[in-house]
Symmetry: C2
Subunit: 180 residues, 2 copies
Amino acid sequence: MSLPHALLGLLAVEPRSGYELTKAFTAELGRYAWQAGHTSIYPELGKLAERGLVEVTEEGARGSRTYSVTPAGYAELRSWMLTPRRPAKVRNEQVLRMFLISALEPEDALTLLHGIADRSAAEGAELRRVLGEAPPEIPAGADGFGYLAAEYGLRQYDAVHGWARWAIEKLEARAGAESA
Amino acid sequence: MSLPHALLGLLAVEPRSGYELTKAFTAELGRYAWQAGHTSIYPELGKLAERGLVEVTEEGARGSRTYSVTPAGYAELRSWMLTPRRPAKVRNEQVLRMFLISALEPEDALTLLHGIADRSAAEGAELRRVLGEAPPEIPAGADGFGYLAAEYGLRQYDAVHGWARWAIEKLEARAGAESA
DNA sequence: TAATTCATGTAAATCGTTACATGATTAT
DNA sequence: ATAATCATGTAACGATTTACATGAATTA
């Protein structure tokens, strides 16, 4: 259960409300790393506050509460970040599909692989476009957040794309050899 | 909830018992794609059997039961494989750490990145060694399973390694600029 | 014959998602 | 005024994990 650490990490970068945290999980964070909805975030913030790892440092309009990490919270985050437990929790529906490709008929497998190749190329290009507008160095402090993540996403798309193209070639070679 | 599809996929490649399926989840499948333990696998097999998507095709020693996919089960698998639902479920503790790196002090961030770079290099090398012993073409049928997955893992390690080295360089450049 | 591995299961507790619910503020 | 967005929450259900439990077959 890594949700509490995800929240501590986001709040360590910058204090936020539950609502703002929720938005972070619908962006890249939720897309590549960890998903969570507001119905798990709000109760978890309550638990973290009870444990003294976060605290409400500001209350705003519409009953919004801005949370910050406490020193104890930062210590907990740091410990979790630097001591990876094995095995790490992994769950990725897309990757699962890739692992199961051999279960399909070759024709279906190729259809799926072409879809993966096309999508990874398109999303990589889009991300590259967005990154092209960003500064060439990592901005200091809170602005640096997302910079490393974006580059990770980019390399991820490239890796998936390369793999899909490779797999297509291999499958087509096999099909060719069989019909020959 | 992708567990039923993971099971259908594994059984479509080759009929297995719950025990054998459990072992598959502790190997690469569980490491990169989807985790599950025997306590969720056995009940799920029961549910799939009730729905007519799998059936027991063999009973062996020690009460073991070998399951196979039915035509209906294969149809369900195929449909799930070829129509990716958005957003896909993603949960990866290691990737989460990467996303939260900016929350750490630069010194801690570098420690973490060096650890990631070292581990991805070592695991990539090990996988490369294992793959070096494999045939250069995808084996037909059940033996082809794992071949695509292994190459995916390899490219994954390379991508993570490249990213970590890039991030280390960027962070060191920033640290240098600040102290200058 | 003792330890290990094979092989399956249940129960309780925890975690996560979906559906339901409310009200304040801002933009059109 | 109306719609959209901001902002928080609870309840019920479903999924997952951890702990508990059993016994057969194999290996040392």
